[in-house]
Symmetry: C2
Subunit: 354 residues, 2 copies
DNA sequence: GCAAAAGTGTTTCCCCTACACCCATGG
DNA sequence: CCATGGGTGTAGGGGAAACACTTTTGC
């Protein structure tokens, strides 16, 4: 990309700044909100110290993760492009520029002890992960973690990434109310139940700032220890091992029709469908209990949000009950009126969901 | 400020970035929203070109203004501190760190043709100007301009500052609904009428994205051409001439009790009071007509927003009518429930206010 | 007395919620 | 026929807006 009239940089100001991007890639897997994290290599982790507000380098432990991100490498790279590139390089997750929403700049002195001064622009991507499966590059090992698990460990994220993650959740909730972003998590033809599930996950109390996140994280860890991971997770792990090297990933991204990729993608898709159909999985989910009838009324009332497909209906996930009306996405880019699912922002936390 | 464990910057990445801050300093003067702008020196202006999205250097005209701002000079300067410093250096406006709200990062390639690459972090300060009067430094000539006047001229602001200004107005409206920021524009003891006036200015249709701003700007220009500026503006100009040199301003800021300063400040305060009392000024204002009774009920219902001062009342500004109950600021930092003054965001633009 | 502005009371309307009820399916 | 979940109907409550009316001042 060329800049017209570009002149050499002014020498008057120190250019000892590093400009970085960080991406909070949020997704929903089996009814639980997950975030893409990477584990950087090296013996030291950069952990926030609450005593003086600085980030310091300490010996790395197994639980130190960071948000995917990195420096804006090229002078002519837009911030959004840098965020897309870093996200793909480190996690193989591909999203479009429209899926990235800027959270803001995080530029406090002392937020990165390694460089002279790092200004980080944070983005949030709320996107289904299964369409672009997950793999680690050779630079870092990456995975999706349950958000409650991340939040339950104080300073479980390096730098000021925990704060960024919390800001991202708040922002996603705002987007859910004012844009049709939830439809990305629904198939082309969906029922109101499926749409509502997305809202129920995002607005769960477990992600509130004052929630006792550890209670929820404990339940997930306990279940996983007893039952083990899901077949979907294992399939993704398999994909990850096969295509781990970064060069391979980049090659795949430019040639999407390789047999190996489509084979694994197909397998993942089948597993996903199975997992979706059978509700026998008892892994705890975090869903609030929104009233179905009134949620439906609100959603239908929004102009251009969803369109009814006349005559089409579909069985519910459990296989029983009345088949539900099927809808498709509307054309609206903004929800007017917004889909407000909780009147008071500071709602009391009730009992644990089943 | 020291950074613990600081190590030399990594040489792997190009550090050819400039990190800058821009401040949208908004205030209300005589019922009109104003923004602090500066006129940079030099023969060239950096004007946005809608044809390709780039900012180009063109010959400067008399109407080219920019938002106050500049590079983050020192490596150990926080972004907020840099914004405060630049705002003060260029406009002599002093605000506290709490008065600055970050808008986000504006970092597109090509937004500043002068440097290799400039990432700008924008802040908004919504603050009464009369408490910290206005003066230009020697680097730039600065003034407050009517926002409608700025918005009415396409590309009246350099770089992408027009977009930043529009984002700032949107943000201020959100702040007005959710925080007690409006109280900064009320005296220690105020009536609901005064509080309401602040909301009526900010939520005027003239500042909506799709408004025909030129209509409003034309009315102001016509009035000013006939009647001339206000005594307040002239007093501020006097202050500006006296204390223009930057060194003088800095000295004053560390020694606030100099006689000259207090004398001029007192004069300004008197003029302000006079101006406030007499509503004989016919300069057009931009105020929407919110229903007084229902606005009052909403404001009183918000917990901790305003406190009634029992037994105290005050005459209205026009000198007639029933004296109004006097209130003082409450302790709340957030408005719960928010003070929603317009149900539908996209309200139709009605007739011009008187 | 009249105009102007603050404040109160009241009516009406709308929307939201909760709940009851009916419907359609699988077993 | 029963359990299950989707969908509809509706009564009750709360709040907001509009409007009428009272109060208190200056002229």
């Amino acid at each position: 990309m060329d800049i017209p009239n570009a002149i050499p940089p002014t020498p008057d100001f120190p250019t000892n700044f590093h400009v970085a991007v960080d991406v909070v890639a949020l997704t929903i897997n089996r009814g639980v909100l997950q975030v893409a994290v990477v584990q950087r290599h090296g013996a030291k982790s950069c952990i926030f110290s609450a005593t003086d507000g600085y980030v310091r380098e300490v010996d790395r432990t197994a639980h130190d993760y960071a948000l995917p991100g990195g420096h804006v490498h090229w002078q002519n790279e837009n911030l959004v492009d840098a965020a897309l590139r870093e996200l793909f390089e480190e996690t193989a997750v591909e999203v479009s520029p429209n899926d990235l929403v800027q959270l803001g700049a995080y530029g406090d002195v002392g937020r990165d002890p390694r460089s002279g001064r790092t200004i980080s622009i944070a983005f949030v991507a709320f996107h289904p992960s299964f369409s672009s499966p997950f793999a680690g590059s050779d630079a870092v090992s990456a995975k999706f973690m349950d958000v409650v698990d991340v939040l339950a460990r104080p300073n479980g994220l390096e730098f000021d990434h925990e704060r960024i993650l919390r800001d991202a959740i708040t922002r996603v909730r705002e987007l859910m109310e004012r844009t049709p972003i939830a439809l990305k998590f629904c198939p082309d033809e969906f029922t109101l139940r499926e749409l509502r599930s997305v809202y129920e996950v995002i607005f769960h109390h477990a992600y509130n700032p004052d929630a006792n996140t550890n209670r929820y994280a404990e339940r997930l860890r306990k279940y996983d220890a007893e039952v083990g991971g899901s077949p979907l997770d294992e399939a993704i792990g398999e994909f990850s091992r096969k295509f781990a090297p970064l060069a391979e990933l980049n090659r795949l991204s430019s040639d999407r029709s390789t047999q190996r990729e489509t084979a694994v993608l197909g397998k993942i898709e089948k597993l996903l469908t199975d997992e979706y159909r059978r509700s026998s999985s008892n892994r705890p989910t975090f869903k609030r209990d929104f009233d179905p009838a009134n949620f439906a009324r609100k959603a239908i009332a929004i102009d251009g949000f969803i369109e009814e497909i006349p005559g089409e209906s579909r069985l519910s996930a459990s296989g029983t009950g009345k088949p539900a009306q099927v809808y498709r996405r509307g054309k609206a880019k903004k929800l007017d009126p917004p889909l407000i699912v909780e009147r008071k922002p500071g709602k009391p936390e009730k009992t644990l969901s089943k």
